[in-house]
């Protein structure tokens, strides 16, 4: 079978699900961030695949560039916040950062 759009979409769907799993199941905050990166990559695969099979629509690739840029910014900010969490809690286990609840 020739490789088509659906193949890429399936890869993206699985990568998205893996990312979600990482976000909700990992204790370490950096692992959560890695999960997040997987989600963004999944979205990018979508964008580029749709661009390729949507008549070489360059908009999809442009979107992907911006996603990459924004992912970098977000990661920088999130890691800076993590350092601060580490100062206060002496760990970065997300599920143990819960002073405020209910």
């Amino acid at each position: 079978m020739e490789i088509g759009l659906t193949h890429y979409l399936i890869v993206s769907a699985i990568l998205f699900a893996l990312g979600l799993y990482g976000i909700v199941s990992r204790k370490h905050a950096v692992m959560v961030l890695m999960g997040l990166e997987l989600i963004l990559n999944a979205a990018n695969i979508n964008f580029i695949a749709f661009a390729r099979y949507g008549g070489m629509n360059i908009d999809g690739q442009i979107a992907a560039i911006f996603v990459i840029i924004l992912a970098a910014a977000e990661a920088a900010v999130a890691l800076a916040i993590l350092l601060n969490i580490y100062q206060h809690f002496k760990h970065v286990n997300v599920d143990e950062v819960k002073e405020m609840k209910e």
Partner: protein, 712 residues
């Protein structure tokens, strides 16, 4: 005085009490005891304005149905919301009642509330209340009525819970608030139905729309439902069965408040509302109103017989009398119902103020004797007050006669009219409707009995305790209101004939308006007599009201006139027996009260416990809550047993539901709603675990659920 001036004065009379509120809330601390003087003088001024308005309206413009103004407040899409205010005859009379009683209560409180830590705040709240109440009086549209209706609710809540240190007081405030919300929900739905149909909040537009034959949703039943919805508002405020449970508890507020709000003005607002929108009730709605009023009158009279708390007796008596008014309106007796509202306002305010006088004296005596445990409101701690508090006794006795319906009092005039009206109504409608006059007459008899029981036990005989022996008469600011209100309970103020009010000015001024409801949905006996003249127009003029048996507005009035003497004889006989019985038991002790109690132990306990409204409710609600938690447990439990459990639960659930309905536990419903709300809030709160990852799990679950919900 031109109409413009009257309208200007009306807005003034509304706004003046706000002045008292503002002064006392902002400068109360600095004014200290002066705030009482300030509040009282402002109210005196307000009363004078009200008197001017009422005099001009009733004398100069008596024939004019209403003096009113309206203006566009704002527009909502294609709707324009018109509001306004106006004075018709009943509003003019109501203005007098509200401002005078409010003034007297202000005066009374200068002594009664003296020394209270929050004295200025009390006057501020009184001002706020008076303002809100006057707003209801001069409203000529549903929107403004509803707004002030809610405001009255809030100020009443503040005043009931004034002594919030007492747990019972703040609970009572809450109970009053929640119970009234239920009524107001009906009120709101009623207003919305009317607004959606007729596109206006103005009374006149709505009535004109009904008269034109347009029905909400093209269904006459919806008009009945809208009427019942609006009446539900009245049921809440006027403490009608089954929403009556809050009023007796509201006695936790200071006694002058009970006199002002829970006897004379706010609780009468429901009756006033029904009178204002009287023309829109269909025959079915009126029957509903009549039944509710009758049940209220009867049930609360039976409860009043056994209460030992001075104020509780009066409270149940108030509920019962409000039932009388509502019953009268429901049976088509518009004039008599409103008449009873006015006469009752004077003498019931007097009774409460007298109660306040007694309690104040008892408090003083207790204070003097360093007694901090006795109950100053228990009538079994009183006795012999006739000698120590002569003025209180005299006025109390006189207004008791008025309440019991003895000739030469205003109460006789109004109650007699109501009773005759119920007989006429039952005769015209027939069948089981006879239950209404039967219950009404028994309630009247019980009224005479329990009022004299109260008088005799509290005032006659020897003092039952040392405290009672040490009481003495209060100062003038307490005595004067009592005297003024007693004087106003003399028949002469309303009609020259002491046994028939129909010839008096009151019945000339307050004429039953012609119903706007199309004839097909209206009692035929409420339709105009075939006298050949236009009654709607005539209703605006006083002269067509019957005087001495001519020109009845409708068949019901004619029939009432026929029943007048029968009703009078019957009610005198019944009231006389009630009084006699009270004297035999409590004064001369020919019949032992204790033995009687033992003999009718079941009934006595039933009455003493207020028909077990609270208890029945508590047991069912707790059972219900248990069921809810069990259901939840089942949810968490094994799925295999699910179906078996479910059928069992359903059976039990049905059992509980029927149990609840069987017992008519309305009080329970209030708490149930509150608890279920709180409970579900508490459960939902647990979703907020504090763990960010579980939040994301919930978000994902939410997205999936939403998707499946909308796909399926």
């Amino acid at each position: 005085m031109t109409q413009e001036v009257i309208l200007f004065l009306s807005i003034t009379v509304l706004l003046v009490p706000i002045l008292s509120f503002l002064i006392n809330i902002f400068f109360g601390d600095r004014l200290g005891k002066l705030s009482g003087v300030v509040g009282t003088s402002i109210l005196a001024f307000d009363f004078l304005i009200a008197a001017t308005i009422a005099f001009n309206k009733l004398v100069t413009y008596a024939d004019l149905h209403i003096i009113q103004t309206k203006f566009e407040w704002f527009s909502l899409g294609s709707f324009k919301v018109i509001v306004g205010y106006g004075i018709d005859n009943i509003a003019a009379i109501m203005l007098l009642v509200v401002t005078l009683i409010s003034f007297l209560v202000h005066l009374f409180s200068t002594i009664y509330m003296d020394g209270d830590r929050r004295f200025p705040k009390f006057y501020a709240y009184l001002g706020l209340f008076t303002f809100s109440m006057l707003g209801i009086v001069i409203a000529n549209n549903f929107l403004m009525m509803y707004v002030f209706w809610e405001l009255v609710g809030i100020s009443s809540y503040l005043l009931i819970g004034f002594w919030y240190e007492k747990n019972s007081a703040s609970n009572a405030g809450k109970k009053a608030f929640i119970t009234n919300r239920i009524g107001d929900l009906g009120f709101f739905i009623g207003i919305m139905i009317l607004f959606m149909t007729y596109g206006s909040f103005m009374f006149e537009d709505v009535f004109a729309g009904i008269a034109s034959g347009q029905m909400p949703f093209n269904n006459p039943t919806m008009l009945t439902l809208a009427g019942i919805g609006i009446f539900m508002g009245a049921m809440g405020k006027s403490a009608q069965f089954p929403l009556h449970v809050w009023l007796p508890d509201a006695m936790e507020g200071p006694t002058p408040v009970s006199a002002l709000i829970h006897a004379a003005t706010m609780v009468a607002a429901g009756v006033y509302l029904v009178a204002k929108v009287f023309v829109m009730f269909t025959a079915d709605a009126l029957s509903f109103i009549a039944i509710i009023g009758t049940l209220t009158a009867f049930i609360s009279a039976t409860i009043a017989i056994t209460q030992v708390d001075f104020k509780k007796v009066l409270a149940y008596s108030t509920v019962s009398q409000l039932g009388f008014m509502i019953m009268s309106l429901g049976t088509g007796g518009y004039t008599n119902g409103f008449f009873h509202l006015v006469t009752h306002a004077w003498f019931k305010a007097a009774l409460f103020l007298a109660a306040g006088s007694v309690i104040h004296a008892m408090h003083h005596a207790m204070h003097h004797m360093h007694d901090h445990h006795s109950d100053p409101q228990d009538i079994n701690n009183m006795g012999g007050l006739r000698k120590t508090m002569p003025w209180t006794y005299r006025t109390f006795l006189f207004v008791t006669l008025a309440l019991a319906g003895i000739p030469f009092t205003s109460g006789f005039l109004s109650k007699d009219g109501i009773l005759a009206g119920t007989l006429a109504w039952a005769n015209l409608t027939g069948g089981w409707h006879w239950i209404v006059p039967v219950m009404a007459f028994s309630a009247a008899g019980m009224t005479a009995f329990y009022m004299f029981r109260l008088t005799i036990v509290a005032f006659h005989g020897e003092p039952k305790t040392e405290i009672a022996r040490h009481t003495h008469e209060n100062k003038l600011p307490i005595v004067i209101p009592l005297v003024v209100l007693s004087i106003l309970s003399i028949w002469f103020f309303y009609a020259p004939n002491p046994i028939d009010a129909t010839g008096g000015w009151f019945h000339k001024m307050v004429v039953q308006p012609q119903s706007a409801v199309p004839a097909a949905y209206q009692w035929d006996f409420l339709l105009p007599e075939n006298g050949g003249h236009d009654v709607i127009q005539a209703a605006g003029h006083g002269e067509t009201a019957q005087a001495g048996g001519h020109g009845y507005l409708n068949k019901l009035q004619e029939e009432s006139h026929h029943f007048h003497y029968i009703a009078m004889a019957l009610s005198l006989l019944i009231a006389g027996s009630g009084i006699l019985l009270a004297f035999l038991i409590y004064q001369y002790k020919y019949i032992s009260a204790d033995k009687l109690e033992a003999r009718f132990k079941g009934l006595h306990t039933f009455s003493l416990n207020k028909w077990y409204f609270d208890e029945l409710y508590n047991s069912t609600v707790i059972a219900f809550m248990m069921l809810v938690s069990k259901s939840l447990a089942w949810f968490d439990g094994t799925v295999v047993d699910g179906i078996v459990n479910l059928s069992a639960q359903v059976t039990r659930f049905a059992g509980y539901i029927t149990g609840i309905f069987d017992n008519v536990v309305i009080d329970g419903f209030v708490n149930l709603v509150a608890r279920v709300t709180e409970y579900s809030g508490g459960q939902l709160r647990k979703l907020q675990t504090g763990n960010i990852q579980s939040y994301i799990v919930f978000v994902l679950a939410g997205i999936l659920l939403l998707l499946f919900f909308f796909i399926l």
